[in-house]
């Protein structure tokens, strides 16, 4: 079922069916998107449930000006950023940094099956500023178009290209220093 058909279903009064189709189509994609930021399966699982509650609550206000999938990614990304900001406050109280906390999570994660270069790559991502991290993740791993990332972040494609370039070079440098 296409995004358009899901929205039509919702507008025809079949809200629960439409929502079920969204869950079916997007749970996995949004999970991986969130997981790349939070690094931990448990945190991702918790946040994913919150994201879908937000999606359900916000669906009546979806006007169809954006694509359904960029709208869903936008909600998920906002939830991720809120989660990371809360982590930042906790990290300040424990005199640690969020990137250190997230790096520890990668090291302790029993569900991380990558090699050493991938480990360094994902740890390097945690050091990036928010916007660079978002654009790098969506472009490098999901191969998303800049126009779509622009809809998600509300940033111009030009600014996104510059952010991606900076992020790419920082991560490359981090990996090259290790190997």
């Amino acid at each position: 079922m296409t995004d358009r058909e899901i929205i039509d279903l919702y507008r025809n009064g079949q809200q629960e069916q439409a929502f079920n189709h969204i869950v079916e189509a997007y749970t996995e994609r949004l999970y991986w998107h969130v997981r790349r930021f939070l690094c931990s399966h448990d945190d991702t699982n918790d946040l994913l449930q919150d994201i879908f509650i937000k999606v359900w609550a916000a669906l009546p206000s979806f006007r169809g000006e954006a694509q359904l999938y960029t709208w869903l990614y936008r909600i998920a990304t906002n939830e991720v950023l809120n989660f990371l900001r809360r982590q930042k406050v906790r990290a300040m109280m424990s005199l640690d940094s969020v990137s250190n906390i997230l790096s520890k999570k990668i090291d302790e994660d029993p569900y991380f099956n990558g090699d050493e270069i991938q480990r360094v790559l994902h740890k390097a991502m945690n050091k990036l500023p928010e916007k660079q991290r978002i654009v790098f993740s969506l472009r490098y791993f999901d191969e998303m178009k800049y126009e779509d990332i622009s809809e998600i972040t509300g940033t111009s494609t030009g600014a996104l290209k510059a952010s991606y370039h900076h992020a790419y070079n920082k991560i490359k440098k981090d990996i090259e220093e290790c190997f």
Binding site: F19, N113, K172
Partner: protein
């Protein structure tokens, strides 16, 4: 940005290094559906059925309260401390309140006692009539 030596250009680095427990996506999808169905029904019932139910409960409580209060009012008997306290906040004096709280009907003994105390004889009562 990319050349032959560009380490980030390796396709294997774009692969997902994370995994999930077996059967996770099936269970999480079901869990999300259940959570949101409950959330949905709480919201729907919260605005639809709960309001009349709460209004009916409040009306019942109000009626019961009025009933209890009017019953208590009929039975109310003030003791002297209540009257002293109440007289401070009332326009009536302590004695007025005490008089209000006394039963209106007098017993036969009280009438005889009153007649003896005032020296009223049977003859004088008959003469007045």
């Amino acid at each position: 940005m990319r050349n032959d030596k560009d380490i980030l250009g390796r396709p294997e680095l774009r692969k997902n290094p994370y995994t999930v427990p077996d059967g996770y996506f099936n269970s999480v999808k079901e869990s999300i559906r259940i959570t949101d169905r409950n959330y949905h029904s709480r919201r729907r019932h919260g605005t639809g059925l709960y309001i009349p139910a709460i209004a009916a409960s409040l009306a019942l409580l109000l009626l019961a309260g009025i009933g209890v209060l009017s019953k208590q009012e009929a039975k109310i008997e003030y003791d002297s401390i209540d009257l002293l306290v109440f007289s401070d906040i009332s326009e009536e004096s302590y004695y007025d309140l005490q008089a209000m709280s006394e039963p209106e009907e007098l017993s036969e003994e009280e009438i005889i006692e009153y007649l003896i105390y005032t020296g009223t004889t049977l003859e004088s009562i008959e003469t007045n009539e």
